[in-house]
Every structure is written in structure tokens, then in C-alpha cells.
Amino acid sequence: MAHRWGMVVDLDKCTGCEACVTACHAENNIPTAGAVEAGRGRAMHWLRVERYWEGDFPDVKVKFKPVMCQHCDNAPCEAVCPTYASHQTDEGLNAQVYNRCIGTRYCANACSYNVRFFNFFNPQWEKPLHLQLNPDVSVREVGVMEKCTFCVQRIKSGKTAAKADGRELQDGDIQPACVQSCPAGAIIFGDLNDPESRAARLTHSPRGTKLLEDEGTEPKVTYLQRQSWNEPDTQ
């Protein structure tokens, strides 16, 4: 059976530390926009930790929510692309083919989650910062959209490694950079078609919700809601 990659984010564990954000930058060669361009809304974070305040001082709460590409089954970004740069792979990934992209930015508008980013300029790494680039991931040129890939390069190499060892792919063999770096282990990645995988089991957790579920986009990222603390029964 084909894989169907999905992710679960346990908001009870997420501390908002942003280790995942830097991990994503390091793994995927995401350019740094610089202060001026960041101020103009050109900073790129394929993965961001959204923060929402609730209540007023002093009874105030914060909710963190890491938002990356939700790899929707019914991804609104895909159909609107005139050149098929954005499409669904057989393994359920919402793929972005950089060299097919002509930069209409329509997909970014259609995306309800605003997780797509555009290369407004040719990305630059001031030498020798370019030496940190990950050779497994292409650098995107000016005028194309980019976004979270679920670290497709890691999925590929995970499958290749399993094949080379002559074994079945195990749950946990493949970890996108954010999953791997998350100190609290709040992000879980796995094959939703494998009922035994942690991700598949947690997807059906009663705490599980999808982001903007009513949009009908059928995301493959599940958020496990934070639980409030209740005084335990002490008998």
C-alpha cells in the first residue's frame, strides 16, 4: 500500500521554543530575508509558531500553534496553478515543483493557511554562509513559490536506506527536520496508511482537530488540543 504521510502536533507539549523553525531553515536552505525585506513582509518561515493571546492581564493565556504546510487532500493551492507546479503526489504530499513554477502566486492566495512563500528576489547567502547549504535540497531562484515539503528529501533517503538494508520502512525511520529537533517531542510524523504508526493512531485522538477544518481542505496535519488542568480526584 502506498504511503500517506501525515503529521500530528501535540499542542500540550509545544513550548513555542522555535527550535523547529531554525531546523527547517537549516534543513531546507530557506534564505534569510534581512531586516529591510523582513520589514516589508518578505521573511520566509516554512514553519512558524503562531501565538494567540487569550484573556486580559492578569488572567491571560497564550496558545502556540506551529503552522506548516498542511498537505491538504483537497489543497486549494493545487488546482489554481496553471502549470501543475503545485500538485498532489501519490504519497499524499502537496508537492511544489520549483522549475515548473512561473510565479503567479495564485497558490499562495488560495492557501487558507498562508504557508506558501515567494522568492521576491534571488536568494543570497553572504559568503561563506553558503557553505551551510544542504546539498540534498535545491535552492530556489527568484520568482518561484516555496513551502514546507514534509522534508521530502528525508522521506526519499529514508526509503532508500530501508531498501538498501533490505527491510521494511519502520515507523519513525523518517523524521522531518522539525520533528527531529523538537525538544518536547511535540511533532510526530508518520504514515497515515499504516494503522500502527504513532501518527495514524494520534490522528484519531479525541483531542485531534484540523486547522480551519470547515474550509474542507482535509489537511494531513492534526493538532492535539491543549488540555486544561483539572484537580485530580484524590481518594
Binding site: 516589508r40 521573511a43 503552522v67 513554477c101 510565479g103 502566486r105 488560495a110 498562508n114 528576489f121 520568482g143
Partner: protein, 452 residues
């Protein structure tokens, strides 16, 4: 006598082609330099990247798309109106049709440039076209942008033919009345037109079929432009009303543009004898109708959003109603509804300057309408964390101004080289009616009487 009847008309209408004033050169020079600035601005953007424009995360579309919709809307001035008038055989249409169709052709060309300008990689725009390529990949027919490609091209081809075909007899007329190089050029353009009865019949039949075909195409073009927005899950974009709303808006702005163009031509080319106040009055009534229709659509759109009370949509609603975009919103309502309705409803106010002034306001208002459809929705999408703003940058503004100059330039050049009023259609309009047989005359009279 025919000769004495029609030659002054032909003389009047051909004269601008033969005599050039200093003003013409001045205007062309000024307009061309503005257009050159626009081209330079685009070159600058091509060199450095889309980042020199103001678009950002999350407002990925801004002035370019606004202008795209605006110009495609303007294009509905011509061919659509002229086709409708042709089909209902409105007699007053004759001096109007060509100036209207020219607007369509040029506005479409200008409008169609914007989707290319706005691309991240404009040099690859042709990937939207279906052609067998080495990549073995065809365009995605599910994308509204591909629908745009087909719709705009169909409309452009149709409109150009609709404009050019009736020009052939006029070219023949100019060919016969000029000498030298002009004669050769217009002779070539006339394609050997003699004016035989067969040619006239074929031409009229073709124009009839094309008028029938071009109306649904025109409606579809702006509907599809509206689909660019309504297909996306952006708050206040994802709406079923957008198709007719956009078409109505397009015709609305189109008529306003036509009125302005006609008034300008009337003054510059001394066409007072051909473009009567009656023409303006009729168009003004149409404009009033469209203003009311536009108001109806805006009301329906706003009411359903307000009633639905979806948080993301309400964010856009309030941003336009009383937030950062409110000044533009209320300017739009003022220009598109309050002024046209209060001025055009009264015959005494429906003077030529009044009509032209209202039309200018409508153009401004309709430009804001497009801006207010595109930008606020994108700046306040579903997740409040990703809300943002948009400020246009110099290249976008320069390119926008340049397209207005380009329109004026193309119009000036066109009216310099082609009679802006169709001479042969005017002649037809001036034909004396031969006396009807007695029974037919009686029938006609009774038809008139039967009308309430």
C-alpha cells in the same frame, strides 16, 4: 444627390488622417515618454525581481492585478456594447461603434499585459498556453488562469476582427481618395475591396454572426476574471455573485470610459456634427442603469457577508467598512453610486460636462472597487497571525500610470491612421428611405400606434 450628400462626411472623417497638427506630435511625444518610463520600470522589476513591487506575504497580489481587472473591465466598453447595439439595430449606434471597439481592443491588450508583468518569471508566461513541449506537460485546465488565457485570447481575437472587418471598406475609401505612399498602404489594408453587393452581404452577415458570438464571450471573459478570485478560499472572494457582479462592473466602467473617449474625440477631432448630445444622453442613461445595478450587487454582496457573520469574512468587511480601507471604500460608493444616481437621474444635470465628470468619477470608483476586492481579502485571511498590509511601490505606480498613457497614445495614433467613425456605416445611416408601398406603410403606422 449622393455625391453632394456624402462627400462632406467622408471629407470630415478622413481629414484627421491627412492633416497633422503640432498638438498631435506633442501629445504623442509626451505619452510615449510616459510609456517608456513604464517600460523602464518593468525592466527594473525584471532585473531585480518582483520584490521591487509592494506585494508581500500575505498580500501576494496588489496593483498589477487591480489594473488587470480594471483594464479588462474597460474593455467591455466596446465590443459588447457595440454588438448589443448592432443586434438591436439602434440607429444612434453608428458613430459610436468604432470608438467603442477600439477601446476594447487596446484595453484588452493592456489588460492582458498585467498577468505577465505580475509573474515571478514573466519570460515563461507561455507555459500557460497549451502546446506540445519537451516537458510533455500541458497546462492545468483546472486553473482559472488558464481559463483566463483562453477567454482573453478568444475575446481579443474576436474583438480585433470585429473592429478590423468593418474598417476594410473605409480603407478602400481612403485608398481611392489619396495618392502615393498613403494610397499604397491603405490599398494594401483594403485587401482589394471593391464594394460589390456580395462583399457587402458577406461583411454584414459576418458582423451579425460575430455580434451574436461576441456577447457571450464578453460576458464569459469578465466572469472568468471574477473566477480568478471566487475560486480561491479568500474571505470575501469565495462568492457566487462575483460573475454577474464583475460583468456589471465591467460594463459600468466600460461605458464611462467610452463617454470620456467620445467626448475627447469630439473636441479634438471636431466631430460635433457626428457625436451629438443625444449619443451622450443615451449612454448616460445606460450608465445610470449600470450604476443602479452595481449598487444592487454591492448591497447583495455586503448583506450576505454581514448576515453570514463568518469571522474571517467579517474581518475583511470591517476593514473596508470602517478600518484601514474605509476611505477607499466610501470614495468608491460616492463615485460609483451616489454621484451617478444623483446627477444622471435629472435631465437638467445630464449635460455633456456633467456626464463626462460623472464618468471620470466612475473610473476612479471602479478602480478602487477592484483594489478593494483584491487587497483587503488577502491582508486579512483566515489565520489572524498571518494578517498583513500592502503599500504600492514606485514601479507599480509608474507602470500603472504608463498604461493609462499607453491607452491614450494608442487611441491617439489609431484616430490618426483610421477614421474613428465608420464612414460607410454613417453613409448607410444617411440614406434616404425609398417610399414604401402603401400597404407596408399602413402596417408600420399601425405598429407604432399599437405601442403604449
Amino acid at each position: 444627390m449622393n455625391r453632394t450628400r456624402n462627400n462632406p462626411l467622408a471629407d470630415d472623417l478622413v481629414r484627421p488622417l491627412l492633416h497633422t497638427s503640432v498638438w498631435f506630435y506633442g501629445a504623442v511625444l509626451v505619452l510615449a515618454s510616459i510609456v517608456a518610463c513604464g517600460a523602464a520600470a518593468w525592466g527594473y522589476q525584471l532585473w531585480y525581481g518582483m520584490g521591487v513591487a509592494g506585494v508581500n506575504w500575505p498580500v501576494f497580489w496588489g496593483f498589477y492585478e487591480t489594473n488587470f481587472v480594471f483594464w479588462i473591465g474597460i474593455s467591455h466598453a466596446g465590443t459588447l456594447i457595440s454588438a448589443i447595439l448592432r443586434l438591436v439595430n439602434a440607429r444612434w449606434r453608428r458613430p459610436v461603434t468604432r470608438c467603442a471597439e477600439v477601446i476594447t481592443a487596446f484595453a484588452l491588450m493592456i489588460g492582458a499585459i498585467f498577468p505577465i508583468i505580475h509573474l515571478g518569471k514573466p519570460w515563461l508566461f507561455f507555459w500557460v498556453a497549451p502546446y506540445p513541449s519537451a516537458r510533455e506537460l500541458w497546462p492545468n485546465f483546472r486553473s482559472p488562469l488558464v481559463w483566463d488565457f483562453f477567454a482573453i485570447n478568444t475575446y481579443l481575437i474576436g474583438s480585433l476582427l470585429f473592429l478590423i472587418l468593418p474598417m476594410i471598406p473605409d480603407f478602400a475609401l481612403i485608398r481611392d481618395r489619396t495618392t502615393g505612399l498613403r494610397q499604397r498602404i491603405y490599398g494594401t489594408l483594403a485587401l482589394g475591396w471593391q464594394g460589390t453587393t456580395t462583399q457587402w452581404h458577406r461583411l454584414e452577415a459576418a458582423m451579425q454572426i460575430m455580434a451574436v458570438a461576441i456577447i457571450p464571450v464578453a460576458v464569459s471573459v469578465h466572469t472568468i476574471v471574477s473566477f480568478d478570485f471566487s475560486m480561491a478560499h479568500v474571505p470575501m472572494w469565495h462568492s457566487t455573485i462575483f460573475g454577474p457582479y464583475f460583468v456589471a462592473g465591467a460594463i459600468f466602467s466600460g461605458i464611462a470610459a467610452l463617454i470620456i473617449a467620445m467626448a475627447a474625440l469630439r473636441r479634438m477631432l471636431n466631430l460635433h456634427a457626428y457625436l451629438h448630445p443625444l449619443h451622450f444622453d443615451n449612454l448616460a442613461k445606460l450608465l445610470l442603469l449600470m450604476s443602479l445595478l452595481w449598487g444592487y450587487f454591492v448591497f447583495s454582496e455586503r448583506l450576505t457577508v454581514w448576515y453570514g457573520n463568518q469571522p474571517s469574512e467579517m474581518a475583511v468587511f470591517w476593514a473596508t467598512q470602517r478600518g484601514a480601507f474605509a476611505p477607499f471604500y466610501w470614495t468608491m460608493v460616492f463615485c460609483n453610486f451616489i454621484v451617478p444616481v444623483s446627477v444622471l437621474s435629472f435631465r437638467r444635470l445630464r449635460t455633456l460636462p456633467g456626464i463626462v465628470l460623472v464618468s471620470c468619477g466612475v473610473l476612479v470608483g471602479m478602480w478602487f472597487e477592484r483594489f478593494l476586492i483584491i487587497v483587503p481579502g488577502l491582508s486579512t485571511k483566515q489565520l489572524p497571525y498571518s494578517w498583513g498590509t500592502y503599500t504600492p511601490q514606485p514601479p507599480e505606480i509608474v507602470i500603472m500610470v504608463a498604461t493609462f498613457a499607453a491607452m491614450a497614445l494608442l487611441y491617439t495614433l489609431f484616430s490618426k491612421f483610421v477614421p474613428i467613425i465608420s464612414i460607410w456605416e454613417m453613409k448607410v445611416g444617411n440614406q434616404p428611405h425609398p417610399p414604401l408601398p402603401a400597404d407596408e406603410a399602413e402596417e408600420q403606422q399601425s405598429l407604432w400606434r399599437a405601442r403604449p
